[in-house]
């Protein structure tokens, strides 16, 4: 599950709030005790940002906001906001109704949670408060997925969520400008993979469908309303056209309504960055694909049906599955991950006998195919993203440290930046070099310039003497005199004095002269003067000689200096 806490410039941000799909107990939720041991999270978080609608990134959101308690803003893109509640509700139904869990969020909680959502547009800077700003970038991967740039003052972090660097049929590739964040946080789960081409995945899909149709079988493809469904439809339509195939292809009506609704959202959201990668047509005007009627499921002969829901846990896809499962000529193609407890999950784990309602069993004789079309960045993709954003530091999450050393070395070598790989529960501190903007008074600037010498090298630091005044929210550098004047203070000069006793029978003047001669010989390189007023000056140190009142042979040397830094050997 993804859930990352970032503290930056005094602000606390939660990045994603996912559910771990492998656990059935409380381990599936993120451990919020890292934020506070008890009580609500509102005071501890400035905002929550959700990257996309996959359950391992948003599955725990209603739990966090309604059961643990958080009333602040939750940021996500428009499509994520539209699709999240549907997936959460589906997930809730499966977990509570089918598995009978109790420590889980309710439908009302999902609704209340979504009321706290503030939608984001791409490339639009949003001020969370007067110091914290965020901006969303296109991430590819799934509809509405975003990478987020978070900035407080001059420090910034970019969180990638899940992203993809190769364009898809209906999604473009992730893109970000050279924003040079202090840290780039990226998933490393796929960092050590090299992806098989999309064409080979598609080939596999078409091959399977074709083989089934050729032997007279029926193919069921359970899908979520949007995303992969359109892609697979386009693929099949083109294939049917070229191969001149006659078997019917259907999509269930539930799909059309939802799809058209999201499609409109899809268009307005993605137009900003995708120019050429978008299909300019009504998504469901296909020549070979028709609307499904439930009576068609009993028709003889080969056919392909796209039906919802995607995990075979209810509704039309499950009904069709029950009818077709008993025939080994048929096939079901699962295009994505299925949550534990669903029929989809069971058959993908090889179960061939299923217990249905009313204690009846279903023999699964049809062919089960698991195909993954989800797009993730691989090792090459991570390097491409780093090249685009130019972060100062890299942070990889969700990998095993021993399996990431090579990638860490590669990043460090190629980009000369530090790469961190914290484990779950570990904190990483990254030092940044924030630049502090300071105004400088013209007088001071002119004076420093007038000190002569060559023009200052902008790359080399140069010492100067001034006073830094912090007033309200501004910082300015002025000359000391001006500072005193502005602050209405008098300048004081501090002089340090010290008395040294010497045994010397000579006169005061002679002693002074001897001291002068001695110092001149041992302190070469220092300015030593014998002044007519009866003092010797070594740089700014003043030396006077007087005789002790009790004993004329004891001379008292009075040393006085205004700086403490000069060391003198006597």
């Amino acid at each position: 599950r993804s859930c990352i806490l970032v503290s930056i410039g005094g602000k606390n941000i939660m990045l994603d709030c996912g559910m771990h799909m492998g656990y059935n107990d409380d381990r599936r939720f993120p451990d919020f005790s890292y934020i506070t041991q008890n009580g609500r999270l509102t005071d501890f978080l400035d905002c929550v940002i959700i990257s996309h609608f996959h359950l391992d990134h948003c599955g725990a959101l209603p739990f966090m906001s309604e059961m643990v308690g958080y009333d602040g803003p939750i940021y996500m893109t428009h499509p994520t906001k539209a699709i999240c509640p549907i997936l959460l509700e589906d997930f809730r139904k499966i977990t509570v109704d089918k598995k009978g869990e109790t420590n889980f969020f309710t439908s009302q909680m999902i609704k209340d949670c979504m009321k706290k959502v503030v939608p984001l547009n791409l490339h639009q800077t949003v001020q969370v408060d007067d110091e914290l700003e965020i901006k969303a970038y296109y991430a590819g991967h799934v509809l509405g997925a975003a990478m987020v740039h978070i900035k407080v003052g001059s420090e910034s972090v970019v969180y990638t969520g899940d992203y993809n660097m190769t364009p898809d049929r209906h999604l473009g590739a992730a893109w970000i400008d050279k924003c040079r964040p202090d840290i780039l946080i990226s998933e490393s789960t796929y960092a050590t993979t090299i992806r098989d081409s999309k064409r080979c995945r598609e080939r596999d899909f078409l091959k399977k469908v074709h083989e089934s149709i050729e032997r007279g079988g029926k193919v069921l493809i359970p899908v979520f309303a949007l995303g992969r469904a359109q892609e697979l439809c386009i693929l099949l339509e083109t294939f049917w056209e070229r191969m001149n195939l006659k078997a019917p292809i259907y999509f269930s009506t539930g799909l059309t309504e939802k799809a058209n609704h999201y499609y409109k959202l899809f268009i307005t959201w993605t137009n900003q960055k995708i120019r050429k990668t978008f299909v300019q047509r009504n998504m469901f005007e296909f020549k070979h694909i028709k609307a499904f009627d439930r009576s068609y499921a009993d028709n003889p002969g080969p056919m392909v049906v796209f039906a919802t829901p995607g995990m075979l846990h209810a509704g039309q896809s499950l009904q069709i599955f029950k009818k077709w499962a008993g025939n080994e000529k048929n096939m079901v193609i699962m295009p994505g991950y299925c949550v534990q407890g669903t029929i989809g999950h069971k058959i993908l784990n090889g179960q061939r006998k299923l217990e249905m309602e009313g204690r009846s069993t279903l023999d699964v004789k049809l062919q089960v195919e698991y195909m993954s079309f989800s797009a993730h960045a691989d090792a090459k993709g991570i390097m491409q993203l780093i090249r685009m954003a130019e972060p100062r530091n890299m942070l990889l999450v969700h990998g095993e440290a021993v399996k990431m050393e090579f990638l860490k070395g590669k990043i460090e070598q190629e980009f000369s930046i530090d790469c961190y790989m914290p484990a779950n529960g570990e904190t990483v501190t990254v030092t940044t070099n924030p630049s502090v903007p300071v105004d400088i008074s013209l007088n001071l600037l002119k004076r420093e310039m007038a000190l002569g010498g060559p023009l200052p090298d902008p790359k080399k630091p140069r010492t100067m003497h001034g006073t830094l005044i912090m007033k309200e929210n501004s910082l300015k550098l002025v000359s000391s005199e001006q500072a005193l004047k502005e602050l209405g203070l008098n300048e004081h000069q501090l002089r340090f004095t010290c008395r040294v006793q010497l045994q010397d029978p000579h006169s005061d003047t002679d002693t002074l002269h001897r001291i002068y001669t001695h110092l001149k010989s041992v302190l070469k390189g220092y300015t030593i003067q014998h002044l007519p007023d009866g003092t010797v000056m070594v740089e700014s140190i003043v030396i006077k000689v007087s005789s002790s009142t009790e004993d004329p042979n004891t001379k008292v040397l009075l040393l006085s200096w205004s700086y403490q830094e000069i060391y003198i050997y006597l």
Binding site: R169, I194, S197, C200, L206, K276, E405, F406
Partner: protein
């Protein structure tokens, strides 16, 4: 090739158009850098296409499921140990396995090109040569506790002139040993741990090598670029047997060799040698009669470009009489030598994998050529091939002639 709007139909060379329809699917959505891929549904049982960041000239098995690849640029290069996709090995449960990607299980860095890479069987060690000298670099691939490939040492080569770098061979032995050399005179068998040379091949002339192969624990072949093959036994100091270059070999013709263990790997004399020339002439001989030829053929290779470094010829380890040839173009060709005779006749490939040329990623108009190929040691028709554009394909081809269609 006919163009029908978005689709082109390629008439396969075997002549069976209806079943061998090549489906070219242009991207329905125009994307920058889009290209056509030949989706031959019936020609491949499995097909996986990958893109490495840098091209490799080496593919070497380090286990039944892992291979090593490495870059060959003049400066910094990576050595990667890749695990093949789980789906390939899933067999009965193939449908339930969605995993199609390579996994980078170990990786390391080197400052020189990697022109030759050999795994030492029974160890986690690989040995490389940079093609610039005859010295070898020794690497530890690492185990479960680290994913970094580290340099552990080096092996000195002999001091002859070695423009092409060393060839390397290894076989399972109780003490890890490596056979290496750039020329026939000076091939050595070196103990890895001690660095001691336990055997040196002595030949009358110093012929540049194009390959080294063990055919048994002690017998090995040194294939020379001029077509000569020396057959030597590391247990004796007797002079090696010499199989002279095939006739009609010209001055500028280069030769590459591969040896198969034959039906019985215990008897080295049943081993067969295949020699391939830069003009496509192929000669098969038997170790029992190294000077003669069992069969020959003129292969249909495009000889426009022939870089000595890239040509590979190999016997299929799990198929009878099958030979794979690559490096002349962007294709890998599979030939069945069972139909060849002693007369030099033209031979047609049983199968041609054109994926690299067809799905080429290079934009500069330079034609792509295959840099390396290997057969899977057990799966009869599974091969891996790599090309100059950084692509690596894993493919399991269908023998159309056997299918009778």
């Amino acid at each position: 090739v006919e163009n029908l709007g978005e689709v082109s139909i390629l008439k396969a060379s075997s002549g069976f158009v209806s079943t061998n329809i090549c489906l070219w699917l242009l991207n329905a959505v125009h994307q920058p850098g889009s290209h056509c891929v030949c989706l031959l549904l019936s020609r491949y049982k499995d097909l996986h296409v990958y893109q490495l960041e840098h091209p490799t000239q080496v593919i070497e098995w380090t286990s039944g499921k892992t291979v090593c690849v490495a870059g060959f640029t003049s400066s910094k290069n990576e050595i990667l140990e890749l695990r093949l996709p789980l789906k390939l090995f899933a067999d009965e449960n193939k449908g339930l396995c969605a995993e199609r990607d390579f996994k980078v299980v170990h990786g390391g860095f080197t400052d020189a090109p990697v022109r030759c890479l050999r795994h030492i069987p029974g160890t986690r060690c690989v040995v490389t040569n940079d093609g610039l000298s005859s010295d070898l670099q020794v690497w530890d691939l690492g185990g479960d506790d680290s994913d970094v490939i580290r340099r552990t040492g080096s092996v000195d080569g002999s001091r002859g002139v070695s423009e092409g770098g060393s060839r390397i061979a290894a076989r399972l032995s109780s003490q890890p040993q490596v056979l290496h050399g750039a020329e026939s005179a000076g091939v050595r068998l070196t103990q890895l741990t001690s660095g001691q040379t336990v055997y040196t091949l002595e030949t009358d002339s110093a012929d540049p090598l194009s390959s080294l192969h063990f055919v048994s624990d002690a017998v090995f072949l040194a294939g020379c670029s001029n077509g000569k093959v020396y057959i030597a036994d590391t247990r004796t100091s007797a002079a090696p047997q010499l199989s002279p270059p095939p006739p009609s070999s010209g001055e500028s013709v280069l030769w590459w060799t591969d040896a198969s263990a034959g039906p019985s790997c215990l008897d080295p004399s049943s081993c067969r040698i295949v020699r391939l020339s830069s003009c496509g002439q192929t000669v098969i001989s038997d170790l029992r009669n190294p000077g003669g030829a069992v069969s020959r053929a003129q292969l249909d290779v495009q000889t426009r470009r022939c870089n000595a470094d890239d040509v590979r010829v190999s016997w299929a380890p799990a198929l009878d009489d099958c030979i794979a040839v690559s490096g002349f173009s962007g294709a890998v060709q599979i030939y069945s030598s069972s139909v060849w005779t002693t007369e030099l006749q033209e031979a047609q490939p049983l199968f041609e994998h054109r994926g690299h040329a067809v799905s080429s990623q290079s934009d500069d108009g330079v034609p792509v050529f295959v840099t390396s190929h290997v057969w899977h040691p057990e799966r009869p028709r599974t091969l891996l091939s790599a090309a100059s554009d950084g692509s690596v394909h894993v493919w399991d081809w269908v023998d159309q002639s056997a299918a009778g269609c």
